[in-house]
Each structure stands twice: as C-alpha cells, then as structure tokens.
C-alpha cells in the first residue's frame, strides 16, 4: 500500500499541490470505473478517491448523484467497491474510499477497515460522519493503519476545526463552498480563508474540494492548498462522452489539464 503521506511528501518536494481525483465505483460499470481510474492515474492524479455509491447521497449534486444511481442500478455491491480499490491501488497510487456512513456500518466497521486495508486502500473520507460520532471508525482505522479523512467547512468554528483536524490522519478535506458537489464556473472565496484557518490548527496537508473543474481553477486553488480535489468534472467527462473510448480520452485530457494546473499554482 502506498500511503497518502508518501504522495504528499513527494508533491511537497516538487513544490506543488497534489491532484486528487474522484469517481464512483461501478460507473459506468465496475470494469469501466477501474479503467477510468487507471486512466486518471496514468494522466497525472496523485491520489484516487473511489466513491461508494449510496442511495441517499445528501452531499452530492446532480452529476455525482446520477453516476451513483447508474452504478446502483447496475448492481454495484460493497465488495465490488473493495475490488475496485484493489485494482486501482495496484498501480501504486494511494487510493482512498469516499463513502456515506451507513454502508460501512452495515458491512461491519471493523470488517470494512480490515478488508479495505487488505485491498491496499489507504483510508476513508466520510462526508456524513464527523469525529463526534466516529469512535468506532477511528479505532478500526487506527488498528488497520488507515487514513481518517474528515471534512471541514467554511461554517466550522475554530473549535470544531481543531477538533476535526486532530482526529484526521492523511489529510484534511476542506469543502470550499457551502453547498453540494458539482463543478462551478468560479472558485469560492471561502476556500482560501478556510485553508488558512485549518493550517493554523494542524500540520496535516489540507485538500480543497467542491467546485473545481479546470486547470485554471486548479492553479488558483493550488496556490493556497496542498491538494486539489476534483470529482464532478471527471464524472461529467464520462457522462458527456459519446462512447467509452471517447470518455477515457476526455478523462485523460481533463486530468492532464488539472495536473498542469496544480503545477502552476
């Protein structure tokens, strides 16, 4: 397993931000999502986020909702997500899972942590689990040497920022806007101050997600963050493509654009 710490050590050495790319597993199908994530690795993503599709994704906008729904209609199972992690982590690029909480609880928290570690996964991003409710996950992650990536938001108080960052390992996920996932035409002016406030309470890398869709925006965010996290724009590239090979090509082009953006920031 390659850890996110290794990836961040390397990007810091290179004097740039990391590019973190998200796709839901099972979209358009399991094999297709693996191929797509490998394309993202080949084209310059430093960390891959494998989304676990969930029936009630309250933090996701229409683009990721649509992809997750397609994956669920295609019959994606939690074990398929772990299989996806295994295939992507085999590239040597650190691979984390992003999931709403109930599927993990249903699978068994300890068992999920064990199987995620066994698949070579580096950790978990939990959009609807904060450290307040996270005792069981934190214990399981610690015993399996996994990253715990909790979210901070522009509305987080300084006290909660410190509390959340203290519970994180790997990096801190800063949600740049008050809103759901989805590409936006301009980056948020809330992101910079949030990163600065988070940096004040932790030495962990701070990644910024929600809204980035182009190399230009990636460069803007990379100027003040340790990682640029992109999701909906990748999903959109696949959704808009005429066929699978066109989708992969679009994905590669977008990844290269973003990867050059994080190097300009």
């Amino acid at each position: 397993m390659t850890s996110t710490a290794d990836a961040f050590a390397r990007t810091r050495e290179e004097g740039r931000a990391a590019l973190v790319g998200y796709l839901p597993a099972g979209f358009p199908d399991v094999a297709g999502s693996i191929e797509a994530m490998r394309t993202m690795v080949d084209s310059g993503c430093d960390v891959i986020e494998v989304g676990l599709p969930y029936s009630d994704p309250v933090m996701d906008g229409p683009t990721i909702q649509a992809a997750a729904q397609r994956a669920l209609e295609g019959g994606i199972r939690t074990r398929d997500v772990l299989r996806t992690v295994e295939a992507v982590a085999a590239t040597g690029t650190p691979t984390v899972v992003m999931t709403y909480w109930n599927p993990v609880e249903r699978y068994g928290v300890e068992r999920f942590a064990a199987d995620l570690a066994g698949a070579g996964g580096a950790g978990l991003i939990t959009p609807d689990l904060t450290p307040d409710s996270g005792e069981e996950w934190i214990a399981a992650a610690d015993s399996h040497d996994l990253d715990k990536i909790f979210l901070v938001a522009p509305s987080s108080t300084d006290e909660r920022l410190r509390y959340t960052a203290d519970a994180c390992r790997g990096f801190v996920y800063a949600t740049a806007v008050m809103g759901v996932t989805g590409a936006r035409t301009s980056t948020s002016d809330l992101a910079g101050p949030l990163v600065a406030r988070t940096r004040a309470v932790t030495d962990l890398p701070v990644g910024v997600g929600l809204g980035v869709s182009s190399g230009e925006q990636a460069a803007e965010v990379a100027a003040f963050a340790d990682a640029v996290i992109v999701g909906s724009a990748f999903v959109r590239a696949l959704l808009d493509a005429e066929d699978r090979s066109a989708g992969l090509k679009a994905l590669a082009v977008l990844t290269e654009d973003l990867a050059s953006g994080v190097r300009r920031g």
């Binding site: 933090m59 609880e105 509305s155 008050m178 809103g179």
Partner: protein, 425 residues
C-alpha cells in the same frame, strides 16, 4: 408542553447531550451543517426556557390552530369494538392534522433566530401545507421539496402550498418520494444555512430534531392525559398512534411514558403485508442503521442501501423512523406492529360509517390497530390519536372503494372487525 428540554429521565425521554436515545439517534451529518445544528439546539433550549416564547407558542396554538383539540368518546365505534375508544381529535386542528403544532413551533423559533426562510420536505403534502401555512402566518419565505411521484399523487396539496405562497420543488432523484425530498432539502440547507431554517416534518433526523419536534408536539399527549382523567376518572389502559417518522405518536406517547399502567402501541404501515417487500414497517422489519442523520431502524438491503418503502398512505411511506421510537421499541416500553393497507382502508370506512369522521389514511392505521387491541383487551380503554383528517385522501378512497359514481349497486360496506383484525396481521 415542557418548559425545559427533557433531560431529567434520559432512559425514557432522552436524549442525552449528544442527542442519543440509548443507542439510537445522534447526529450523522455533514460538517457544513454542524454549526447550524448547534445553533439550532442552543436556540431551542433558550426558547423553551423563555416564558415569552412558550406563551406565544401556546397563544398561537390556541388562537390560530384550534388547540387543545377535543378528546372524543367514540361510543358507537366502542360498541363495535367491545372496548372504550377515545379519539384525540387532531384532525380538527387548522390544516387538518397534528403537524400544525410542530410547524408553528419551528416557525416561531425561525423568527427568533433572525432567519427569513423556511424549507421543508413533504410526503403526502401535509407537512408542506402546514409549513407553508406557518410561513404565511409569520411572514417567512417558504420552499417545499416534494418527491415528483408524490406531487402527482397529491396534486391538491401542491396547489394548496402554492396558494399559500410557497414554492414547491418536485424532486426527481432516487425513488422520487419522501426520502429523496429530505435529501434535496438537506442539500438546499447546506447551501443556504445562513438565512434558512430547515423545518423538519417529523421526530426523526439529526439532533435536535427528534427531541425538538417531540417537544412541539407533546401537547397532544399532555392534553389527552388530562382530558382522559377528566372524562373517565382514570388513565387509559393503552395509547395508540400510527408511526411513519413518528411525530404524532411521540407527541401522544411522551405524556404517558412514566405511567406504568399505560401500554403504548405504535402502528406502522404494513402495506401489502410484512411478508412482502411492499411495506413501510420499519421497526417491525427493518434493521439498525443510519439514515438522514440518526441511528435508527432502517429498511435497507444487505449493503446498507435504503430500500424503497410502500404504503397506501404517503405520510407513512418512509423507510426510517424517529430514533426515540427505535429506543422505546428496543427497551420494550412501546410495542410496534404493522397494519396493512387493506386493514387501514377498512378502518377508514368503519370510522366514517360509525362516527361520521373521515380520518386520514395515516390515522386509519391507528384506528385499525385500536380495533385489533380491542379484540385482545375487551372492556379496556384505548386512547387513539386521530392525527389527521381524510379530505386529502379522497382520491385514494375513490379508487380503493370505487366511490364517486352513483350506482344501483350501492356503496361498499365497511369490513367487520374480524376482517379488519385479519387484515392487520
């Protein structure tokens, strides 16, 4: 109405300071909403300790909503049932259901917090109509999210909300029903939390909603308990309510939880039957999980994906349930049973024929449950929360009973108690 949040008897009333009722409840929500939920919790605690707030709330209930509602001695139904059945007439409240209590409380709190907009989810449209009503009354902007499928099933309520000045947004994601409307309302709230309050429609969701909605609704039970003592000189032997998310039920139950002699029964939507996949009997058939911010019983598959629920009553058609109900079931203080669509519709007709009261189909589940209990406990006193009126359900009733056309065949007879009890199994 309690004047302070009930932390005194945490085992039954709860929740603890983290919003937990035993192992249930809590707050599983995006960090972006944590500050807002903390702010809401603090504002609610302060408001409930402020006599000016509680007095204004009581004044609105009394002068605007028609509360306290009657406790009606349903003698003709009792004769049929073989037990004394008392009906708490929440159907007589303004907007036709208990929901007005919750929305007036939350709307007043919204004003107190200096917010100008309320959002809400709605299934059947009753909570949406109630929220739109409270928003109109208190001069707040209002947006209601409603599953696309429900906007089709409940077009009349869409029109009512619009007439009241609310914006109704159909939700086309997922199963296009109540749970998806909740998802969309949460998404709105994440993006608009500065000026917007989420007027949650039931005693579920993340802390503080289960406890706050309960406290705004608990007048149902407080009034009914006093009314029953005055009418009969004793407490009822059992109290009965329908349970979807569970706001009317917890509103009734709370006053009786410390009364050891009173048995507490919740009736869930059994749909086509709990041996089929088409029901909404969450406590009866669900398993513990996390949905919409709380740990509770959830209808879910092996992987923790929420399963679509089914009920003829849109207001009970929800795959989760309020966490305090989960806790009361778990500790055995309350008993939850399913009632099928058929049994509920039979009870709707029965109550209409015997007492001249057309209940909401939700509330008809409670009536069917009471008839079942009457058979098991002849001669006992059963207090039923008649949580809403049935006008909104006439479309369903027309279809179910074949009504609406004068014919020489006459209109269908309601089922016998035996048939009703049979259907409830």
């Amino acid at each position: 109405m309690s004047t302070t949040p009930t932390l005194d008897e945490p085992d039954v009333n709860g929740p603890d300071e983290r919003g937990r009722f035993g192992d249930f409840g809590g707050r599983f929500m995006p960090e972006a909403l944590m500050a807002a939920l903390d702010e809401l919790t603090a504002a609610w605690h302060e408001a409930m300790a402020d006599e000016a707030f509680t007095a204004e709330f009581q004044r609105m209930l009394r002068e605007y909503a028609g509360v306290p509602s009657l406790l009606y001695d349903a003698t003709k139904l009792s004769e049929r049932a073989g037990a004394r059945i008392l009906l708490k007439r929440e159907d007589l409240n303004h907007t036709g259901a208990h929901k007005i209590r919750n929305v007036l409380g939350q709307a007043l709190l919204t004003k107190r917090m200096g917010k100008t907009r309320m959002i809400a989810e709605t299934g059947a449209g009753q909570h949406g109509v109630a929220t739109a009503t409270a928003a109109a009354y208190l001069g707040l902007d209002c947006t209601v999210y409603m599953g696309e499928l429900d906007t089709e099933r409940q077009a009349l309520n869409v029109a009512r909300m619009q007439l009241l000045g609310a914006e109704v947004i159909p939700v086309s994601s997922g199963s296009r029903t109540l749970k998806d409307a909740i998802n969309e309302a949460i998404r709105d709230w994440v993006a608009s939390v500065d000026r917007t309050a989420y007027c949650f429609g039931t005693a579920a969701g993340p802390h503080p909603f289960p406890a706050m909605v309960r406290d705004f609704c608990r007048g149902i039970g407080d009034e009914a308990r006093a009314q029953c003592l005055e009418l009969t000189g004793a407490l009822p032997d059992s109290v009965v309510a329908c349970v979807g998310g569970g706001s009317n039920a917890i509103g009734l139950f709370t006053a009786f939880l410390q009364d050891e002699s009173v048995d507490v029964f919740g009736f869930e939507a059994g749909g086509d039957g709990v041996d089929t996949e088409r029901h909404a009997a969450t406590i009866w058939a669900g398993e513990v999980g996390v949905l919409h911010g709380a740990r509770t019983y959830v209808l879910q598959d092996e992987d923790g994906q929420t399963v679509e629920s089914h009920s003829i009553s849109a207001g009970l058609d929800y795959p989760g349930v309020g966490p305090q109900h989960a806790h009361l079931a778990h500790i055995g203080r309350a008993t939850y049973r399913p009632v099928t669509d058929t049994a509920a519709m039979d009870a709707m007709a029965l109550l209409a024929r015997t007492e001249g009261i057309i209940p909401a189909i939700e509330s008809a589940h409670a009536v069917a449950g009471a008839m079942e209990l009457a058979r098991e406990r002849p001669g006992s006193t059963i207090l039923v929360n008649l949580s809403g009126r049935g006008d909104k359900d006439m479309g369903t009733a027309i279809e179910w009973f074949g009504l609406g056309q004068a014919s020489s065949d006459g209109t269908p007879e309601p089922a016998t108690e035996e048939q009703i009890a049979e259907g409830a199994k």
